[in-house]
């Protein structure tokens, strides 16, 4: 890290970054860059349009819908209705692992597309879509077929939902539903998450009332099993005696979604992508939700204890404590070995809608400081906490994303705990339906930046020379060319798992490798190093 005495004040740095922009752009970006003052309620601009032309990390609504929420579910045939590209790029590129067993259904290695041609754009693509559904049905007889609309589909006015209804009726034994997740909807992947939540809630959740066996039945929401994270959490739950009904969505199946409303508690990992589902399940079925975080060993332990408190069962509590006691020694041992080498180093995290927050836990366990962080597609509540929700303005870009009107199910609504219990539990520190956001945790004079641009990250790196930068594939090699290692927190650089106890150990070892390797020192050729080796050589 750069010698801190030479670093100008954060406000100065911000000014300098903005001075390079056209006036209008500077004005807009200014509101998305916050220099943290601990203890004060600061507002950040988030979930607004990206400035055209700027190099952004963001993708589209289709990516958020098909790629994120639906992609990790193995027994759905996901058909992209559109030209070939959108489907092609979302084909296996997100690393969601799944375990179908030797002969379970698994369509995740496949890419299905209607590959629209110009005649479909001119005359409409509904006919081709119907035919494609029929062909998929004839070939695979899947449990479910999902249709994803890409940009041109919305423009030419194909009605994917009526196609879905018609084909569902015609074929009889397959659930078919569509997602109007055209890439221009909203301002980022985030719109797609919402659309995915809505349709899964409407068309899948609640179709099977058979509750899985087990005393303590939960759903895990917003865990996508990148690099096997969900497997690790499953392992821990099993050891604790917690029954996992459904994970939205990692190592997931249609069957699990269909009965997810029978669970007694919803655990939210990624608040951004899935809070809609939790809200709707609470309203309709009475399942409360709490925010958890299984990134970081301490955070994992804390989250498990929250579950114990919620169920208030002595046996469960004892078992959870035993599991923590059993898992922690290896974590501690690794940390003892590694922390002396990572202590005091600095990190920047710019990624996604929750990981830029969650991973600060792991870094702080290693004694590393987060000097700047921000999300790619989050909203103000993910920064400032859900307390700001009443003050968040819904702009034109978000207004068009449907808000489902959900009411309590007349037969199946069952409040899992009463108000008294809720109050008692929240006094004990269990916050229901709440998320405090990232900013609260960030230290004074750190940067919080939403939808960071390439220019901004380059300036931050130049100034702070962090020991590690966390972002995605598009940022990775530019940052590394600057001599700073970049850890991908979307794909984990093809490593992981990093969740849970074993995940924490993996992460410590990985970060130690990245921040302590001497390889970067070899970049400069000896003859380019000062003072004048070349002259010396010439003299020999």
């Amino acid at each position: 890290m750069a010698d801190s005495t030479h670093i100008p004040s954060p406000e100065k740095i911000k000014e300098e970054i903005l001075s390079h922009y056209p006036v209008k752009v500077a004005k807009k970006r200014s509101k998305a860059m916050v220099v943290r003052e601990k203890g004060s309620d600061q507002e950040i601009q988030a979930n607004v349009r990206t400035v055209p032309g700027i190099i952004t990390q963001r993708g589209c609504s289709y990516a958020g819908c098909k790629g994120v929420v639906l992609g990790p579910t193995r027994d759905i045939v996901n058909i992209t209705h559109g030209p070939i590209g959108c489907g092609f790029y979302s084909w296996l590129t997100r690393r969601n692992q799944t375990d179908p067993g030797p002969d379970g259904a698994n369509y995740m290695p496949y890419c299905f597309s209607t590959d629209m041609q110009d005649e479909n754009i001119v005359f409409g693509g509904e006919k081709k879509l119907k035919e494609a559904i029929q062909e998929a049905y004839d070939l695979f007889h899947p449990k479910a077929i999902a249709i994803f609309a890409t940009c041109p589909v919305g423009l030419i006015g194909d009605d994917i939902h009526s196609v879905a209804r018609e084909m569902k009726e015609k074929l009889g034994d397959v659930n078919i539903f569509g997602f109007s997740c055209e890439g221009y909807k909203g301002v980022s992947q985030s719109a797609g998450h919402h659309i995915a939540n809505n349709q899964i809630f409407k068309h899948v959740v609640g179709r099977n009332d058979a509750k899985p066996e087990g005393e303590f039945v939960v759903n895990l929401l917003g865990e996508y099993n990148i690099g096997g994270d969900a497997f690790e959490i499953e392992r821990i739950f099993e050891n604790c005696g917690i029954t996992l009904c459904a994970t939205f969505s990692g190592n997931s199946t249609m069957g699990a979604f269909e009965r997810s409303h029978t669970a007694d508690l919803n655990l939210i990992m990624c608040h951004r992508s899935i809070n809609y589902m939790a809200e709707m399940m609470e309203t309709k079925f009475g399942i409360p939700w709490i925010k958890v975080n299984f990134i970081g060993a301490e955070a994992t332990a804390k989250s498990l204890l929250k579950i114990a408190d919620y169920f208030a069962d002595e046996g469960l509590t004892a078992r959870i404590k035993a599991v923590i006691a059993e898992e922690m020694p290896e974590v501690k041992e690794t940390l003892a070995r590694i922390k002396p080498r990572t202590q005091g180093k600095t990190a920047m995290l710019f990624v996604g809608g929750s990981r830029a927050h969650h991973y600060q836990e792991l870094f702080s366990e290693m004694g590393m400081k987060t000097v700047a962080a921000g999300y790619e597609f989050a909203h103000r509540d993910d920064y400032e906490g859900r307390k700001v929700l009443p003050n968040v303005k819904v702009d034109a870009d978000s207004r068009n994303i449907e808000e489902l009107k959900v009411e309590a199910d007349p037969e199946r609504f069952k409040a899992r705990i009463n108000e008294d219990q809720k109050v008692r539990l929240s006094r004990a520190g269990i916050e229901f339906e709440d998320y405090e956001g990232m900013m609260n945790q960030m230290e004074d004079e750190t940067f919080v930046i939403d939808d960071i641009s390439h220019w901004e990250s380059e300036k931050l790196i130049e100034t702070y020379k962090p020991d590690i930068f966390c972002a995605g594939i598009k940022e990775k090699y530019a940052i590394q060319k600057m001599g700073v290692p970049l850890k991908q927190l979307h794909s984990y650089d093809y490593g992981g798992p990093y969740a849970g106890f074993r995940g924490a150990v993996n992460f410590y070892v990985e970060i130690d490798r990245m921040v302590n390797t001497k390889i970067w020192k070899l970049i400069e050729a000896p003859w380019d190093k000062k003072p004048g080796i070349t002259a010396e050589l010439a003299a020999v």
Binding site: P52, Q117, C151, A478
Partner: protein
């Protein structure tokens, strides 16, 4: 099994593409644009396309891919993207200061019907384009053709936007390399230099998509064809375009616009295609092929004749882009290997005809298909019906290769799981050696892994 739902029995499909052997136009346009020095590719559409294209290229090259997007919202989709593009142009020149912005369209802006030249001239009128800077463009609707067409369209866009007509004729030869790797671009330049020919090549992604680690991120790496060179290509003596699909459009436009005659030959993969390229160079320049290149050729021939027993009769399945598959098929048949199944998602009538000519000359009847529903699902089914000894294609083939236990050589776009393609060419005679090394390597590794202990060989 990874692809456990793929049945052996082939049922014809009309509407559903499964596991495509192509992708969409803009990614090709973006790649081509990166081959101009200090060029900023810009995707006129919604953010997702640009994010996907940058990611795909980044994963393939493990290099930064800097590009912008018009970030359409629902409003721009309804009212058109003019204001987004004009402000994008202003922002890009102010923030990133490129020499050229290369705009390509997406399905969205094409469906809306945005008129890029009109918008670009509006940006010029409003003073958003600094003096001496350029905007070039290509229409790249993905519901037509494939990524290969996107590449071809952007190269044609370079001619349209930059090449300057002239009464003067220089002795310079233009080379349009087609969609090949930076390593291949380097190799094509090396071959041409070895012939002692003065040339202009564009695009040229060497020293861009294989930039060195220096501890500094150079936003516009030193490679890429300078704008001046593309401008001057209008006065060149002749153009050689490599790969009919990739290069004909641009070569033809250069002829119409600047009266530079051209010839099209295959991308120089394998012995004969490299022979033809060198002869085309020789014809265009009047210079003989130097002995050093004849020696290189001889070395490839030496390997093939030495190792012929491992190649002879081996059945191959391959998929990818027409301009690569044609010379690759020829190379394989030259070595007495037997292409059995060939698939390309890229449409175009010429492909099947060319490939069949090559195969029929050796008496081979193969499954050949390209265009609609010619995908990797079909290829896999063909393989299940008629097994092969070798699979050649992009990274997605690894699922088939693992399920069916087929030796696999990665070639084409994208390669997401190996390095090498950016650095070691598969074009020219050197490239032929690399292909041979890879092919022989996977055969022999399999033999070493699977032969009974009694038959385990030390010398091969």
């Amino acid at each position: 099994m990874l692809l456990r739902h793929t049945p052996t029995e082939v049922a014809e499909r009309n509407a559903l593409t499964i596991n495509p052997a192509k992708t969409c136009q803009p990614v090709g346009a973006m790649y081509a644009a990166l081959g101009i020095h200090a060029c900023f590719p810009h995707s006129h559409g919604s953010q997702g396309c640009c994010a996907y294209h940058r990611s795909a290229l980044t994963r393939h090259y493990k290099e930064p891919v800097m590009a912008g997007t018009s970030s359409f919202t629902e409003g721009s989709s309804v009212f058109g993207g003019q204001s987004n593009l004009v402000s994008a142009i202003n922002n890009i020149f102010t923030i990133y200061n490129p020499e050229v912005i290369a705009v390509h369209t997406t399905c969205l802006s094409e469906t809306i019907g945005d008129d890029i030249p009109q918008i670009a001239s509006k940006a010029v009128e409003e003073g958003k384009v600094p003096d001496g800077k350029h905007i070039i463009y290509a229409n790249t609707p993905s519901y037509v053709g494939s990524h290969v067409d996107g590449f071809a369209n952007m190269v044609a866009g370079m001619v349209k936007g930059l090449a300057e007509p002239s009464e003067m004729r220089t002795k310079t030869i233009n080379i349009l390399p087609g969609w090949v790797e930076p390593s291949d671009m380097r190799e094509i330049k090396r071959l041409t230099n070895a012939m002692g020919i003065s040339f202009i090549m564009y695009p040229d992604t060497s020293d861009v998509m294989d930039a060195p680690q220096t501890g500094t991120h150079v936003f516009y790496p030193k490679g890429g064809t300078p704008v001046k060179a593309i401008q001057a290509s209008g006065s060149s003596a002749f153009t050689i375009g490599l790969g009919p699909l990739c290069s004909t459009k641009a070569a033809d436009l250069l002829k119409t616009k600047c009266k530079v005659e051209y010839s099209i030959t295959d991308i120089p993969i394998g012995i004969q295609a490299t022979d033809r390229f060198l002869m085309a160079l020789s014809r265009a320049s009047g210079k003989p092929v130097p002995e050093s290149l004849t020696d290189e050729r001889g070395r490839v021939m030496d390997i093939i004749t030495d190792m012929h027993q491992y190649l002879y009769g081996k059945r191959v399945a391959l998929y990818g882009d027409p301009d690569q598959l044609i010379p690759l098929t020829e190379f394989l048949t030259d070595m007495d290997m037997v292409p059995m199944h060939i698939v390309s998602g890229t449409p175009g009538k010429r492909f099947e005809k060319r490939v069949n000519e090559i195969l029929h000359a050796k008496g081979i009847e193969a499954n050949v298909r390209n265009g609609a529903n010619a995908d990797m699902f079909l290829l896999h089914q063909w393989i299940k019906n008629d097994p092969v000894d070798l699979l050649i294609g992009n990274t997605y083939g690894k699922y088939i290769a693992r399920d069916e236990n087929i030796p696999f050589v990665r070639h084409g776009f994208p390669i997401l799981d190996r390095i090498g393609h950016s650095y070691f060419p598969t074009t020219g005679y050197t490239g032929a050696m690399r292909l041979l090394e890879q092919i022989l390597g996977v055969f022999m590794d399999k033999q070493d892994r699977e032969s009974p202990e009694t038959g385990f060989e030390l010398v091969m």
